[in-house]
């Protein structure tokens, strides 16, 4: 059974009397111990997917489809069961740990909090010992437990966040842009730490980022989102090196290869902005920005299609020509 599986997940936000779709039918599956990278630019719905997994979206969001955590549908769970599953079944490493930690409570207490909440056998003293152990596991001295978030550097705070995510021994960790606010050196440290901990403990992970190279390095599989949908999915290395969908290719090329003069002198970006999620048009949603758009893209809105062994892409160019129409 997959640790996490979403089937036809849709999320729409009510705004000004109408519904704006943010996620438009996402199917994902992460097997036990598997790691999946979810990539896409700002506003494509990737963080919304992360929050939907633990039903953390605001009341203005309408969620459809299903989210199965170890086979149980999160969206239809009773509140009590949902609270029990949160953090103990799946935890989240949020981006920007400065704001994701409570500024006026010691980090040790914040790490111990879910332990005390989910494990009735724990006492405050044993939970504090567990917090100290967790801090050591993420490479921080145990006395960090007595510090407040503002006394720590960005990298240290992110380590605290990771220690907190591991506190209840979850089988799935969702890392939502875990390295976005960090400088490059610290980014690399945090990524390696996360990768090691996840691999060593057999935890499944969904990592969310806009940086395809980071995800390709840390995950087995990659899914690229555009305008609320998955447009390409497959083994991480293949998707990164040889994307079939033009958007995935552009995203991969947006980061120059260090030491490669060719990419330095010819930076490739992607012109234009993502489509207004409230707007509805026919055809492929990427067409206005696509460099290789064809006539049929104006009326064919392709679904994910097999694009090689074990991978798929939502582009008419991977469709066998007779399948069109």
């Amino acid at each position: 059974m997959n640790h996490l599986e979403t089937r036809g997940l849709t999320v729409a936000y009510r705004a000004g009397g109408r519904e704006v779709p943010a996620v438009r039918g996402v199917d994902l599956a992460i097997p036990p111990g598997g790691t999946l990278g979810l990539a896409g630019e700002s506003g494509c719905g990737k963080s919304t997917v992360a929050l939907a997994v633990l039903r953390l979206l605001p009341a203005t969001a309408r969620v459809g489809g299903s989210v199965l955590l170890a086979g149980e549908d999160v969206l239809t769970m009773a509140w009590g069961r949902l609270r029990a599953v949160r953090w103990a079944g799946a935890s989240i490493v949020f981006q920007g740990a400065m704001h994701s930690l409570n500024a006026v409570r010691r980090v040790g207490d914040q790490i111990a909090e879910p332990v005390l909440l989910h494990e009735s056998a724990e006492t405050p003293a044993s939970a504090a010992r567990r917090a100290a152990d967790l801090l050591e596991r993420v490479g921080l001295p145990p006395r960090t437990a007595a510090a407040y978030p503002h006394e720590l550097s960005g990298g240290q705070r992110q380590r605290v966040m990771i220690a907190m995510a591991l506190a209840c021994g979850p089988r799935l960790v969702i890392a939502d842009e875990p390295t976005t606010a960090l400088d490059v050196m610290v980014q690399a440290q945090i990524l390696r730490l996360l990768k090691d901990l996840v691999a060593r403990n057999g935890i499944a992970m969904m990592m969310i980022s806009h940086d395809l190279s980071v995800l390709a390095d840390a995950c087995d599989r990659l899914a690229v989102m555009y305008a609320g949908r998955i447009v390409e999915e497959g083994p991480a290395r293949q998707v990164f090196a040889d994307a079939r969908h033009p958007y995935a290719a552009a995203l991969g090329a947006a980061f120059p290869v260090v030491g490669d003069p060719a990419s330095r002198y010819a930076p490739r970006g992607l012109a234009g902005d993502p489509p207004d999620p409230a707007g509805s048009g026919t055809g492929c949603s990427f067409r206005p920005r696509c460099a290789v758009a064809e006539d049929r893209c104006a009326y064919v809105d392709p679904a994910l299609w097999r694009a090689g062994p074990d991978r798929s892409a939502a582009c008419v160019r991977v469709l066998p020509s007779e399948e069109v129409l």
């Binding site: 609270r83 935890s91 704001h99 409570r105 909440l117 006394e151 990298g155 240290q156």
Partner: protein, 337 residues
């Protein structure tokens, strides 16, 4: 790549060291002393420029000779040059001697001491009740933002806030003078002794305290509401919910402690004004406190009394500000020295 185990700032150096705490304390104390000195000077000269001759006011309506007036002036030291009067006043202050009241013919310090307890009882109770009520209702209003609870609470509080204190007090007096139930003036019933006396005072406090609370609790409600609404969009509350905390616990354990911080200053500022009392409430309900004393001193004007009260009230505000400065770092680690 460097070792990943960079330690946080050691707690025994820099922040929180005894030396830095001492420097912080000394700074705050010096600031308070400077404010107090400024108040002292202001109090003296402010009341000297008030129009009117105190000696003539004292003897109004009576047949007095010019010689008798001079004698009175000499008695109260009003014949000396202004500079000398100021020096007398300053040396008096150092000995906690605020002079002698013209109308009561008693030392001002004694008068203040006599009236202090009733005022602290009334205004202290009123301020604390208003703070507790306002903060609690503000939390509820923010939690149910835009719903009926919020609209009714906010609307009612703002309506009462805009009502003049004396008007509300008079209204209550009119209502309860007719129907009975609660005393409408004074602090105690003559002749009641023993444990019953405490109950009697509490009974007398109901209307004045209700008036005070009704008018001022809105400021706590509004500050708490907006402060909590700001916090409610914060990422750390998503973290708290993701951990599996019940909504009530997310509110109580994470959101409210953070939202309370801005209200601490307000509570202390208002506590500083407790000694100044509620001049209007005390006057309307003939409560024998400092507010009423000040009102009586102003009518004459009773210079030593008004001046002494002014210094005393200011000292209260300065002291509470100092306390707020000392307490705040204990509550918010981010401003800790």
């Amino acid at each position: 790549m460097s070792a990943p185990s960079a330690a946080p700032a050691a707690p025994d150096r820099g922040r929180g060291s005894p030396r830095r705490i001492a420097v912080y304390l000394a700074g705050r104390l010096l600031g308070a002393a400077a404010s107090m000195a400024a108040v002292t000077v202001t109090a003296f000269f402010l009341f000297r420029v008030l129009p009117g001759d105190p000696v003539r006011t004292m003897t109004q309506g009576r047949a007095v000779t010019e010689a008798q007036l001079d004698e009175l002036r000499r008695q109260y030291g009003l014949d000396k040059p202004l500079g000398e009067q100021f020096l007398d006043y300053c040396s008096g202050l150092l000995r906690l001697d605020l002079g002698v009241s013209y109308q009561y013919r008693a030392p001002v310090t004694e008068l203040i001491a006599e009236r202090l307890w009733p005022t602290v009882l009334l205004a202290g109770t009123g301020t604390l009740l208003a703070a507790v009520l306002g903060l609690w209702l503000g939390t509820r209003a923010a939690w149910r933002r835009g719903r009926v609870v919020d609209q009714v609470n906010t609307g009612l509080a703002l309506t009462l806030w805009s009502v003049p204190t004396f008007w509300l007090g008079l209204l209550l007096i009119v209502v309860f003078a007719g129907t009975g139930g609660f005393p409408t003036g004074g602090m105690a019933t003559p002749g009641v002794r023993g444990p019953a006396a405490a109950l009697d005072v509490a009974h007398h406090m109901v209307l004045p305290v209700a008036t005070m609370v009704a008018v001022v609790y809105a400021q706590y409600l509004m500050i708490m509401r907006s402060s909590l609404l700001t916090e409610m969009g914060s990422d750390y509350l998503v973290t708290a919910r993701a951990k599996g905390l019940r909504d009530a616990l997310v509110l109580r354990r994470h959101a409210v402690p953070n939202a309370l911080l801005p209200t601490v200053t307000l509570v202390f500022l208002n506590l500083g004004q407790v000694v100044a009392g509620a001049i209007l409430v005390e006057t309307v309900f003939s409560w024998p406190g400092l507010g009423q004393l000040f009102y009586q001193g102003l009518r004459l004007p009773d210079l030593p009394l008004v001046q002494g009260l002014f210094v005393f009230f200011s000292a209260g505000v300065i002291l509470m500000n100092l306390l707020a400065d000392l307490v705040y770092p204990l509550l918010d680690p981010r401003v800790r020295v």
